[in-house]
Assembly symmetry: D2
Homo-oligomer: 377 residues x 4
């Protein structure tokens, strides 16, 4: 019962950023263990990737298919697959995992384009596969606290959301492997910045407010000369029910590291959270009172308490947030319920966002509708 | 030569916010002195207003015309007029002052609508009247420092500007005199939030970058039920030359006091300045270096040094910024040059912004052109 | 009744820092006007000093005595004297002013040493002269708010005070006039850093808490080689009633501009205020709640409301704080009461602090008593 | 070669705070695995403790001796022991581990008193046991960066150190297990706040500066009525070579969570780091330049790069810092070198600090010498 869930990974090879993060997050609570991987499509590189994780050559495979086949024949074979490849391989990997009866934790965005996402969503639903998408920032305790407070009416009816995600690391030419694939349509799909970080901002806005976006207006730009995909995006949002939103994502904002921030204004109060100062949530009241709520403070909601590992003042960060998604995922695999975990529905919505925003911006289409999940499937 | 310039005021009566601020700012450097006013249109109230400023009843007039007539006959009569009335009276007051040969410091926005602004601009140009518009925030030393740094190429070519001006004080019903007139089209004109604070953000963006807005897309909302004018605005901007911009102004952002902030990203660096922390300018380099430049630090530009009164670490604020406009104005009246002082051209541009944004948003017009000063006059 | 109080100044010549600040602060509210000065002991330099202030040569005197004599014979002669000289001239200037029936606003510290302070305190009391000492930081609205909250029991019984005042500007050799006199015992007296800024921290601690220091332990150092006076001080304090305190003042803390900060901890809560972020007061409750109280917020105490000129979010700073002392002083001169204005008692206490701390540190005396005002006079 | 080091734990039972933290930290990098424990002295509670960690009853022992005996007979028995008991059990546990040939990671402070520490230091040296003490904060990347910068001369000769560690959680009566044992001399030893957190501040000061404390003056107080041990401490430090220091540690500072902060001033610059904002290091130059250096920025020192797991802007925190100590420890156990890892020398020094400070404060002894390691052994 206490044994660890056995995880495989596809992607996450020797130069990868997100692979090691998935592994640290997955293993943090001692509920999951990375035991095998198809870390790269070259056998030597896959073995080198495995060595980073302490995985021996015998379980460092040269392809996902090879891994699935070999692991299926082991008594201690993998039970779940983490997908950490570039976007355009997500669907293929997910399909193979589903066919093999493996649960799936997919990096975001869910697939390379909307058509693939619709297909994948259908597959997942039909197969009943446990499936999560790594919208990491929703794992932060104070993000979950914010969601709980909005839901409890702490700021009244939401009127306005400003969510922004500025980065500066692609302000220069996109050199290096991390940069290169993100700006290559063959690997990243149709969206650049919007697909890489815009979807995080979008998910965060819907996650915290509980609202669904009805309409949007998109202005995507490829600022750095010669770039084929967008590196700077502004979206105006209109939520169902009428609340107004602004979403800004940018990778040419020199000096910004990872400046995800969300501000939500209601008719009774406001909330403000910043990813680079994640332990604190600012809460404003219509009466003029401003409070700073710290992770670990007395009086917080169960949702944030459950996502907490150390006392107030002992900074938790990105890994712990990510680990909360994996902890939720383990809960699901053990038969429990994890209502905050982003799944195929959230993945599908984000793909619709990318598709809609890219088309609307390209066509200078003004306000356009964002299809609902019902309309999409 | 050292004697003080004699200033009259129209508006700024017993309940006014901005009248006393104009007076403090005007007098701070000992170059200008408020000596008379038509503080309200009711004689009793004008006298009460005058008493706030230490002006006796004999120079607290019941109308601007009365003030102009009486002061013209005094050897020590007023030489300049500060206009601190609601927007729809600005043109009338300015006309009377120009006709009387008085220099004019007008509160922003310059007039009640664009047609008036065009007329006023022509009058000012024909008469050669010294004329300033109180875009106060351009008086902050570190704003002027930012402008100088951009001009000197510190961040390279500007690619992106994010300027935001959130306030929360109109999130509830607009009670109180200050709130009421701003949401009354008869007094405020066609713009609410866009005219009250959006124009500050707009001026700041053009002031710091030296760029001119070519196109805009406007999304103005009247969020609080029953409101006739906008209280929340988002504008997408495209500057001449192609730089991208986002302008957000809001008066329903609960918990925000006066959160004007500007971020400018170029191909070599970035700048970040916040009005509520006005002594510091954040400067980022493409090489990853982040510096905080403090007002009063060694090595600053002449433009900010000249706008400084106390050493670093002795906080200067809003009044000093405002006083810098008046100091510039006094320089002009003494025959000097003050290239940073906002004048009729800036006033006219802002009126075009209001007019264009309100129409474009109402008509859901998508991207529209912002007329240049040449096209306007 | 509304006419301005006529102020003279001694000191504040062409290169002075604090003279222009006194003038701006004095005149900010239109209740006081600088009309004459003995700005330097050289006539040419005094005239040059006067020109900075718009004072003509005829009232720019070469000595205080000359000013007093000449002004006494004018119908519009000065009514008060601001003393802005180096410390060792304070007593002489104050004596002359008292003898001439002038009210006195003295820069801090009150005199060059404790003996002088005792003598001056007696003179002031005997003459009944209105006398203030410029402990500027007590003029900040949020400092007065903090005091009011402590007095009202918001944090319960005070247990601990940490007051610090780090600066870095004397970390290098003391070049320049401002630096040189502060490190010259002949001009500054027996204390360097302790007398220049330590006294501000000391006054702030007693002002906000309402407590009186009973014992202290002093560790003063002259860190920069060759320096005759202290440039870095730590004091342990024990307040009457038993509360503990730490006072740090330093002028060799590279990178610190003017980092005065006070934290007060009681058995029910805590307060935290920083001079470089003066508009905000942090308030902590024993229940874990942290609030940020902004100047201008609803629900503040009368003491801070009265010290406020602009709405929340329009930064006020050092000049406004200083002007609050002058406004209090004008109130006293007009026959009113200003209980928060630092006077001769506070000046005397600070001189006792300097004297006691310097001796105790030199003698490595451990804990020593700080004499009360009663014991001193 | 890649197999995990097998770790046992003593202490860390069902209600413990630090036990789970040790486990998360130890396992974060996949180099160490907790496999057994004597989590409590009651068998039922030890089993309950083990269940928290996924350790079965068969390896959840009722005593350290039982664990050592049983594990020694297993092929997969423990190789190292983490000591997570209250202070007074540290020596006994360490002795048993050393005798059994286990490497030791001890929670701080190293022992219950100095005599024990001297004995333990001798034992460790004689046995050659790998031995570390969990001065967690020295594991933060930007702390290691600060140390490297000081060593490289970035701020010149160190003149002044201010290290403070305010907490508020013991401002009320010490209820709860965590609070109770810390204020019980039978469990905590002779020091309260000084032993619990003062030693962290002390270690940090010596770690970052590379200096050794020569003399100290201590003022320890038991502020909350009825308390037998100190809950608020101020120490003046004089480092060998003459640099001045102030160390403040407090557990009655209401509103402070875990406010460890260090500021270091040299003759060429200054550094400032705060544990609750651990990703940023402020660096000041004597020329007036202020820079913020972020973890993950280009151009950092190898020491901080090696202690980093995620890119800049993805907040790392307390667990990652702690894990860096365990990673260093694993390096040592694998035969490598980890010069930054706090060991028995640092543990001994801290015990001397507690002993000296408690005695000096009790006796009001003024400045006293802090014995060197040579003098101690």
């Amino acid at each position: 019962m206490n044994r660890k869930i056995r995880m495989g990974m596809v992607g996450g090879g020797p130069d990868a950023f997100i692979g090691p993060v998935h592994r640290l997050a997955a293993e943090l609570d001692g509920k999951i263990e990375l035991v095998a991987g198809a870390f790269a499509r070259d056998r030597e590189r896959s073995i080198a990737g495995g060595a980073r994780y302490g995985i021996g050559p015998e379980r460092s495979y040269a392809s996902l298919d090879a891994m699935i086949a070999a692991e299926a024949s082991r008594a201690d074979g993998i039970e779940m697959l983490t997908i950490a490849t570039p976007n355009q391989h997500h669907l293929t990997a997910a399909k193979a995992a589903i066919a093999a009866g493996l649960a799936v934790m997919s990096d975001k965005p869910m697939t390379g384009n909307l058509t693939e996402a619709i297909a994948l969503a259908a597959l997942v639903r039909d197969a009943g596969t446990p499936f999560a998408v790594s919208y990491t920032y929703s794992g932060y305790p104070m993000v979950r606290e914010a969601r709980a407070r909005v839901a409890a009416g702490a700021i009244g009816t939401v009127r306005k959301v400003v969510v922004e995600y500025p980065q500066g690391w692609l302000a220069g030419p996109a050199t290096g492997k991390q940069a290169a694939w993100r700006m290559d349509p063959a690997q990243a799909g149709i969206g650049g910045c919007i697909a890489d970080i815009g979807v995080h901002a979008f998910h965060l806005a819907e996650f915290v407010t509980g609202l669904r976006t009805g309409m949007l207006l998109a202005d995507l730009g490829a600022v750095v000369p010669g770039r084929a995909l967008d590196d700077d995006c502004t979206l105006l949002l209109r939520f169902q029910g009428g609340a107004r939103g602004v979403l800004m994502a940018s990778q040419i904002s020199v000096g910004e590291r990872n400046g995800l921030r969300i501000r939500i204004y209601g008719n009774k109060g406001g909330l403000d959270w910043r990813q680079e100062d994640p332990e604190r949530l600012w809460q404003h009241g219509i009466d003029g009172e401003t409070r700073i709520v710290y992770r670990g403070d007395p009086g917080l909601n169960e949702a944030s308490i459950a996502a907490t590992r150390t006392p107030a003042g002992h900074p938790e960060g990105y890994l712990e947030a990510f680990a909360n998604l994996y902890r939720d995922f383990a809960t699901v695999l053990r038969g429990g319920s994890a209502p905050l975990l982003p799944g195929v529905a959230e993945g599908l919505r984000s793909m619709a966002l990318i598709d809609t925003a890219v088309a609307a911006s390209r066509d200078n289409a003004g306000w356009v509708e964002l299809q609902t999940e019902g309309e999409l499937s």
